[in-house]
Symmetry: C2
Subunit: 420 residues, 2 copies
């Protein structure tokens, strides 16, 4: 019998406990031993929980109990779980965590502390989809060329609604909040931070890169309008919030932002709250992993898969590399990212304006791929929409500044990156 | 250093050798040790091969060499590789195989012989997609409710062409043969046998069922016409060759056949030679794994992933279960499969015929869900198309026999199963 102690018994923790009990026979058949939840630590002992295990409000009681073989961390937050996971590893106890924020900041310290003690985290990225295992084990023969993931269900739900129904951002946000898909303060999801934490974890496994959230481009979907969605379609694209990690000549790009992607691509077909991660390997070509990215049972499915792996005696390496990478792949700074861009301008409706705009773009080295002019709701304005050939992020930013400073261009210049 | 010997150095074997050399650094970083191909066995030493390792025409030389740590079997066939893999395992050497036919017939004997010696086979199902790992490890907390896989690229390429271009079967088969996607004798692919071998392997991991090809429904796409494809669309379906394993109250259904599936479902969007496997778990919900199902490099990617796992010290269990399943899930015999069905009849165009047909269906307990009448190319005939509510395979077969015996119904009654 293997005994599991759980730090944080919220939605996911409850599911872990209940699945370990309800699916106990089949899990035992697969793991070779019975896996039993024996204790949970919670902040508020007064709150009702639908689990049938003893609870404590002292997490150290779980970690130090001689009765606990494996510690599962589902608390959320960064520094407090870091302290506790560290403690458990120092006690020599294997740890399973679903905590992406913890890993976004401390994964390399934790790998160091863990040593040969298993520290597994399948549930931290894309919930129930076994993407960590696929990337760490299944694709290990490949140089990873790119990862493109829809890793935030809230954003994908909202964008799908905007695409299918032509609804605007505020309306779909309200609907997402009503359905429980978005928090009262939705910033963490719609601002791209949640997806960024996940991307950093995948970036480590693919490239061995220790990047922090502060070092990469993180943008959300707050500025996407129904108009963008409609215009994207005219150019043959759909808009998704993607986490992108990509190997290029100079290094590795990592970024999270709303992205226009070809409407026919497999990942563009992923709708609603579902997640998917497309991984291109130099040998395998494109693979894609699709499934539910959140929810108590789906996330618990991944947590328990990790527990089973530990019970089976499989160990790691935690971040995918047993030895350091000799190739020394490096994160590219945000300004060195290269992309195609979509630009949305509102300009004064009079002769010479288009010339002024296009020559400003030309002066900044931006080459136009396609252009569309649309009437604006304001009678004295028109909308200009461009897609560009590939250029550096630094170039497009300077060009946008220059466009803004033109008298004939309104201040709000919209920009969305395009992945072909 | 870990030394690999390869039985069968064809397209996949050449890729394995070349990737181990060309991606050697990153594979070493991930595995912790250098992995080196040292010898290959081939049938015909006279044939030119683009690999830089010594070759022999005696497979036992590879197996018995003290220089070989891991044996990779890529020969194809059933009994000869069985004998050799058995020999290697008896020598205590870990084996990696891509041979689905071998496993379709001998996986349980091999599991027994292997004992604690690793026998891995990620490449045997859906080529480069790490579906074995996902199912065996990533979804281990779940009772698997169903598996639905597009696992034969030849068939999917052909059906996609028929759907997109309205082309007929003979035309697309010729095109597939020209492109090298189909063999001169295409039976193994278009008859569903290749997909069936893969399904049996997945069925073991999901349900612990030791079924043989002879025990399940195996049908191909040879009888699918452009008309079926067109009519499927009118009912809101696409036609795919699916391998299906599904837990129902009475046991586990396993079957391979052309299937109508809702056009909006994720797996219906998988086009061309690509493969995908949708797995529904009772806790995780639907996950799907997509990628290239064939090709030298893609298949080699999976072979090498297995080698890396062995080098890392991970072992199994080979077929997903460390202990026998207490629940004792059983394969349902083909006649107990339940499905919705599509029926295609050509009937004499005169009053009373529709009544005769529908009452025959009614007498056999078949309940009609939808009906369509279409003109036929023959002036004295009309086409009747039905979809039915769920019934047993035995019922629909008897009903089809009865329909055929009616004077007013032409002999060739078409049937395609429908998965909602």
């Amino acid at each position: 019998m293997v005994k599991v102690g759980i730090l944080g018994v919220g939605t996911v923790g409850e599911s872990v406990v209940n699945i370990l009990i309800e699916n106990g026979d089949i899990i035992e058949a697969r793991a070779g031993r019975r896996i039993v939840p024996v204790i949970g630590a919670v902040r508020d002992l007064g709150k009702a929980r639908s689990v049938d295990i003893p609870l404590t409000d002292d997490p150290m009681e779980v970690i130090e109990s001689t009765d606990v073989d494996i510690v599962v961390e589902l608390m959320g937050g960064v520094e407090e779980p870091y302290r506790l996971v560290k403690k458990a590893l120092e006690e020599g106890k294997p740890v399973v965590t679903a905590n992406k924020a913890l890993l976004a900041y401390h994964r390399y310290e934790l790998q160091e502390i863990a040593g040969s003690t298993p520290l597994f985290y399948e549930a931290s990225v894309a919930g129930g989809i076994p993407i960590i295992g696929a990337l760490r084990n299944g694709l290990s023969a490949n140089h990873i060329e790119s990862i493109k993931g829809i890793m935030n269900g809230t954003c994908n739900f909202m964008l799908t609604k905007m695409i299918d129904e032509g609804a605007d951002y505020e309306t779909v946000l309200a609907e997402a909040q009503e359905l429980g898909y978005a928090e009262a303060d939705p910033t963490f999801d719609v601002g791209g931070y949640d997806a960024a934490h996940k991307l950093l974890i995948l970036g480590s496994i693919a490239y061995g890169i220790d990047a922090k959230p502060e070092e990469i481009i993180i943008e959300g979907i707050e500025n996407i309008t129904a108009t963008d969605v409609e215009f994207a379609r005219e150019f043959g694209y759909e808009i998704k919030l993607l986490g992108i990690a990509k190997k290029v000549d100079e290094g590795v790009e990592m970024r999270v932002h709303a992205t226009m992607i070809p409407a026919g691509s497999m990942i563009a077909k992923v709708d609603g709250v579902m997640n998917a991660v497309s991984v291109v390997g130099d040998r395998v070509g494109e693979t894609m992993f699709y499934g539910p990215g959140a929810g108590g049972d789906a996330t618990a499915s991944a947590v328990i898969a990790d527990i089973v792996e530990i019970v089976r005696g499989n160990t790691g390496p935690m971040l995918g590399y047993k030895k350091g990478l000799e190739s020394g792949m490096k994160l590219l700074p945000p300004e060195r990212v290269r992309s195609h861009y979509y630009l949305k301008l509102k300009v004064v409706d009079r002769p010479g304006v288009l010339a002024a705009v296009t020559s400003t773009l030309g002066e900044h080295g931006i080459s136009i791929e396609s252009m569309l002019q649309k009437p604006s709701r304001l009678t004295d304005r028109v909308r200009l929409l461009f897609t560009t050939h590939e250029c550096y992020e630094s170039e497009i930013r300077k060009a946008i500044e220059a466009l803004r400073s033109l008298d004939v261009v309104d201040d709000s210049v919209g920009m969305i990156r395009i992945e072909k």
